[in-house]
């Protein structure tokens, strides 16, 4: 009886053995890092006399600071993509929120209030996305495509189609100072991303909410039939994504010190690419915060490397496009091997 059961159920997993499984696990954790190391190593190799500059601590800090905005977006986007959705409105929302922060600072000189307002507007937009998706039962692609236009228009409207200059001095700017005094010499924004990443990673892997996110991405009908409050969870997912987008918008303001309604066009594609390079699957159910962050770093180092080496822009675009395809193809291949092995 139990013998028979073994035959029935031991499919695939068992024969491979424990050692093999450990190896696969390790590979799963290290795999993404390897991609990052390959990129850095490659540029270090070909950089010639720019090598010193490229590998300098300062340059790493620069890249880390540059990646803050994409990374914040990727935290939320990972949740969305794991749940089988997508959010195309991120870039526009970042622009909108950066304008909101600058606009509030124009009215009242309170950076804290401005930050709260920026994040709140992002959260609200996320909430609207989520509500439309669940309320009208529309695909996220369309709802957020619509929001892409609306948020961009809103940003231009609020800013009267101009940039809004921030005040001369404002502690918000400190978030994105590459080499601050204190903070271990690393931009506070980077620390913030780190802390939030740990929070979201725990949220995704250790909480009931996280399980439900994966379940919805894996099989939405099943999740519903099992009593998961699919609509509520989805609204929450997009709201959280909006929260991070709002924060990203605030950081965008901190970085530029102006609220710019034309900033971050196409940012959503960068963020989606980061999540996917980091192993997330657009069909849902798969994705990790660590992976997404590394995906974001890979893209940032690629750009930085190309610019340091002095390659022309078109080459950068070609290479980044190719890397997206190659990274995902390798990941695919790795997973398929993993299944068979």
């Amino acid at each position: 009886m139990s013998e028979q059961a073994e035959v029935t159920l031991g499919r695939g997993g068992m024969p491979s053995g424990l050692g093999n499984r450990l190896l696969r696990h390790l590979w799963g954790v290290l795999g993404p890092f390897i991609g990052l190391l390959v990129v850095i190593g490659f540029f270090a190799l070909i950089a010639g006399d720019a090598r010193g500059a490229f590998l300098s601590l300062f340059n790493f800090k620069t890249v880390l600071t540059q990646v803050v905005i994409v990374a914040l977006g990727a935290l939320g986007m990972t949740l969305v993509i794991v749940s089988g959705g997508i959010d195309l409105s991120v870039g526009s929302t970042v622009a909108f929120c950066s304008v909101v922060v600058a606009w509030v600072l124009l009215q009242v000189p309170s950076p804290a209030l401005a930050m709260v307002a920026g994040v709140a507007v992002g959260t609200l937009i996320g909430f609207i996305n989520g509500s439309l998706i669940t309320g009208l039962r529309m695909v996220p692609f369309i709802v957020t495509l619509g929001m892409l236009g609306m948020a961009r228009g809103g940003a231009k409207w609020l800013a009267k189609s101009q940039k809004i200059n921030g005040p001369i001095d404002c502690w918000l700017y400190e978030f994105m100072v590459k080499e601050p005094d204190g903070w271990g010499g690393v931009a506070p924004g980077v620390w913030m991303v780190l802390v939030l990443a740990i929070v979201v990673a725990l949220l995704l892997t250790r909480t009931v909410f996280g399980r439900h996110v994966v379940a919805i991405g894996s099989n939405e009908a099943t999740a519903r039939l099992c009593g998961v409050r699919v609509l509520r969870v989805k609204v929450l997912i997009y709201t959280i994504c909006g929260f991070f987008t709002g924060l990203a918008g605030t950081m965008q303001f901190a970085r530029l010190t102006v609220g710019d309604p034309t900033v971050a066009v196409g940012l959503e594609l960068d963020i989606i690419a980061a999540v996917v390079i980091g192993g997330g699957s657009l069909s849902g159910g798969v994705g990790s915060i660590l992976g997404s962050l590394i995906g974001a770093l890979i893209m940032a180092f690629l750009r930085n490397g190309c610019q340091q080496v002095g390659w022309p822009n078109y080459l950068q675009e070609i290479i980044i496009g190719a890397i997206i395809v190659v990274a995902v193809a390798v990941d695919q291949f790795r997973q398929r091997r993993g299944e068979v092995a």
């Binding site: 028979q4 035959v7 399980r211 894996s218 519903r224 039939l225 099992c226 998961v228 159910g285």
Partner: protein, 521 residues
């Protein structure tokens, strides 16, 4: 053990006695109505289930059983009618409310999240947590206990469910119903993917639950099972309650008659057919993992049955042979070709070989497409005029098979998704008949099909054989293999062990070979 003809006598309806005092009803559904557009799925159904009983719900395909149960679980909303659960009115607006109301449900179509582990699937929507944090050790203990009860404690709770076979997935699905504290457990065809041993184990679990005062609504097309576990039964036909009673003492014939609404002369109609030359030969066929070794010869005008336990690799044999899975060793020789390489399904179809998959939802039907397109999907050529498909002639060509298989549908251009499970299965079979293949590879073709329709399928198989075509018939339901096949082969652990004429087998000898005990003895 040959075609067990079921003679039917006319019976008068006996009004069953109301439930006795000590056996108070835990669930009452009265006048439940549900329509999907113009299709009336339920036209005023009554159902009464007592505490601690196993209540069998039976009926033809499309009778409305699943719909009724989905209303009970909150997955669907009724148009009218009332439900009383434990004396209280009960109107679940979503599955969560159904679940918190004490209804657990094993759905007919598997409902699992492939990326989640066994543990996560079992506990989905019912997680043990403290302030939102999952308590993993507690969950794991619960899941282990449930799996042990189903005699599957070797199943790794951390394994992603997507890696399990259909059988394993069904076990997970059942385990989910066990971990909750349900008052009523609905089982919609739970054994359609289970082997015999697992089925028996399930019956033991059902018996224990029943003793513990849990009520079970049991849906199955296997009336033997109904007789084995059921206390009372209710029969649905065309969305109405047509009969109910106590199982013990009710002859099978009466149940069949109430279900079908007419007499069934013969369960296994025989169409005489003549065995001819070899059309398909497998020599030492082996796939990536399964099968490990299959050699057989399939003749014209023959129905060759393949028996075996779930996981024996019968499905994989058909898939490998059909070119869906890679061939590792061995060769396939057909009238049209000889090959040890993988041949694509398209080439196989061209060579006159067609496969009916056991998993119709994933790999058998394009459910958003119309019935007519599904039937003609593998072969539009008869309807192509000057490069364009001619819809009226397609409709005519397809309707013939829909009628032959008695598909309940409004019109051929309805999407397949709107059909009941059994009728979808019939549409999938229509496709092979329509394509007019020479070799039918049928993987569990009567899974989820009602008794009356099964007879139709058996008749079609016989007629196909009479036309000189060959049928390879994989089934886990031994009576039908005995009733329909000319020869039966038995598979065990990826190997085809023995092929004999049907009269040389009996149930025990098949089970001996299938469990691999014949070698030891």
């Amino acid at each position: 053990m040959n075609s067990a003809g079921v003679g039917m006598e006319q019976m008068e309806q006996t009004t069953p006695s109301p439930i006795g005092g000590e056996q108070a009803a835990i669930l009452q559904m009265r006048g439940v109505r549900k329509a999907f557009g113009p299709t009336v799925a339920l036209g005023g159904v009554d159902l009464e289930v007592a505490r601690g009983e196993v209540h069998a719900l039976i009926g033809e395909n499309g009778a409305g059983k699943s719909t009724l149960m989905k209303i009970l679980s909150g997955a669907l909303q009724p148009d009218a009618g009332e439900i009383v659960l434990d004396g209280q009115p009960f109107r679940p607006r979503n599955p969560l409310e159904g679940r918190t109301g004490g209804i657990a449900m094993i759905y007919q179509e598997l409902t699992l999240a492939p990326h989640l582990s066994v543990e996560e699937n079992v506990m989905l929507g019912n997680e043990r947590h403290r302030g939102g944090w999952v308590r993993r050790s507690e969950q794991r203990a619960l899941v282990r206990a449930a799996l042990r009860e189903l005699d599957h404690d070797q199943l790794d709770p951390t394994m992603p469910v997507g890696r399990l076979g259909v059988g394993g997935q069904q076990v997970v699905e059942i385990a989910r119903a066990l971990v909750g504290r349900a008052r009523v457990i609905v089982m919609d065809e739970p054994t359609s993917c289970l082997g015999r041993a697992d089925t028996e184990r399930l019956f033991q679990v059902i018996a224990r639950l029943r003793r513990a005062g849990v009520s079970i609504i049991y849906i199955s097309h296997f009336l033997e099972e109904v007789q084995a576990v059921g206390d009372r039964f209710t029969v649905l036909r065309d969305g109405k309650t047509v009969d109910h009673g106590v199982v013990a003492g009710t002859p099978l014939l009466r149940m069949v008659q109430s279900m079908v609404g007419r007499q069934l002369d013969e369960m296994f109609p025989r169409v005489p057919h003549q065995r001819g030359g070899v059309v398909l030969e497998l020599e030492g066929l082996a796939g990536e993992r399964l099968p490990r070794h299959v050699s057989l010869k399939l003749h014209k005008g023959e129905v060759l049955g393949i028996a075996g336990l779930i996981g024996a690799g019968r499905t994989e044999m058909l898939r490998t042979l059909f070119g869906l899975d890679p061939i590792r060793a061995g060769r396939v020789t057909a009238a049209a070709f000889s090959s040890s390489e993988r041949r694509s399904p398209a080439e196989q179809l061209k060579a006159g070989i067609g496969l009916l998959s056991e998993d119709r939802k994933e790999e058998g039907l394009a459910v958003t497409m119309s019935i007519a397109d599904n039937v003609a999907l593998s072969d539009f050529s008869p309807y192509v005029r000057r490069g364009l498909v001619h819809a009226p002639s397609q409709e005519r060509g397809v309707a013939r098979w829909l009628r032959a298989m008695d598909v309940k549908a409004q019109n051929p251009w309805q999407p397949v998704a709107a059909l009941s499970g059994g009728n979808q299965q019939k549409v999938a079979l229509c496709r092979l008949l329509h394509h007019d293949v020479d070799v039918f590879l049928l993987d569990e073709p009567t899974r989820g099909i009602d008794v009356g329709s099964k007879v139709e399928i058996y008749r079609q198989i016989g007629e196909v054989a009479a036309q000189g075509k060959a049928v390879l018939f994989v089934s886990s339901y031994l009576p039908e293999l005995f009733g329909v096949c000319d020869r039966i082969g038995v598979m065990c652990r990826g190997e085809l062990r023995e092929v004999r004429e049907v009269q040389d087998w009996d149930e025990t000898s098949i089970m001996t070979v299938a469990t691999g005990q014949e070698k030891r003895s």
